[in-house]
Symmetry: C2
Subunit: 185 residues, 2 copies
DNA sequence: CAAAACAGTTAAGGCATCTTAACTCTACGC
DNA sequence: GCGTAGAGTTAAGATGCCTTAACTGTTTTG
């Protein structure tokens, strides 16, 4: 019913997840994360970083002393790692199993990494390792799948047990004329 | 680099996608979509609906005359259908292929439906129909996969070509002590 | 060690989305 | 055909996340 509203109640927002990952990356690569480095890496202003730090601090995800470096707390670190793992699993699944182009895979993974539940991430990891393995069924899958049809055959409404009245594929790929949709300001 | 920032530049936001779907559903089920119906179905105030309608109208996604019914434009309708299809495909994939619990699958699908690119949705549809089909490989997959390990074996850093230094699964499921993370206000 | 260069913060403001409160329409009962 | 219930709108305010501009603190350097 109101699941959609919980979008704004995730433990961290999309922005927050990326700030946390950035701090983790900087810490790993340079040994410390400064406001300016974070701003550069994310492409936002330093004042934006300062205020986000305040917000992350209020949630117990980072610590920071004025004019000093930013550190992840244990929860912040956990969240950063989990998001990063989720992204890696998603990207691998999209490229290696679904065969989606790398750039699209990375963009999609970036968008949804923090929204996918651990349950689903774990299952994605499982199916990805299974289908990449040398298990005979995995090998057969790779051969058979790449030869499988890219779309369902033309079918009457109701003929396909997945599609129902209208072909799912059609509605996923159809464009409105040639006019691209207006992009949000 | 800045992919993460395009989160706010999707053609429609999470909220907008749900408003569009709600209008489509009401139109289908009751023949018309009124402000109050939309507000009830989404669990928001009527004034919230009014202002979102203004915003959707500015993007050419709905039409609405004062005190009247809300209608989807062709682009709005396309977007609503696409989002709905994306959600159906995702849910099916998560439940039927990954075997994730229905409730979790629906929540995750609701969160990410509008963020998944058509390319990925189409491939998800393809793999889902393939693995649900009576193709011999699909049958073998179902048998073999359900018997496959739920986690990678204990392994040294670098031993698993997917995990790298730390086990992905570990970082996906690990909790910080017993303390649940603070939820966003 | 002082001045300049650089890093970080605060303040003020914009946009999206939501809320409540108060107002305005519309339409039905009589 | 008018009054009122209820549907819808506007206005004002909150929050999250971003910006620019102006200020403050720190560090480098000559």
């Amino acid at each position: 019913m109101d699941v959609w509203k919980r979008f704004g109640e995730k433990e961290v927002s999309h922005s927050m997840a990326h700030y946390l990952q950035t701090v983790a990356t900087l810490k790993r690569e340079k040994g410390h994360a400064r406001v300016g480095d974070i701003a550069d890496m994310l492409g936002v202003s330093k004042s934006g970083v300062t205020s986000m730090i305040r917000s992350l601090h209020a949630r117990g995800l980072v610590s920071h002393e004025k004019y000093g470096c930013v550190e992840l707390t244990p929860s912040g670190s956990l969240l950063a790692e989990r998001t990063e793992s989720s992204r890696r699993v998603l990207t691998m699944f999209l490229t290696d199993i679904l065969g989606v182009q790398a750039q699209v895979a990375e963009e999609d993974a970036c968008m949804i990494e923090h929204l996918v539940s651990p349950e689903v991430s774990v299952e994605l990891l499982r199916i990805t390792s299974f289908l990449r393995s040398d298990h005979p069924v995995a090998k057969q899958f790779r051969d058979a799948y790449h030869a499988s049809p890219r779309s369902c055959a033309e079918h009457a409404p109701g003929a396909c047990d997945m599609c129902g009245a209208t072909c799912l594929r059609e509605s996923l790929v159809r464009e409105v004329g040639d006019a691209p949709l207006k992009v949000r300001a």
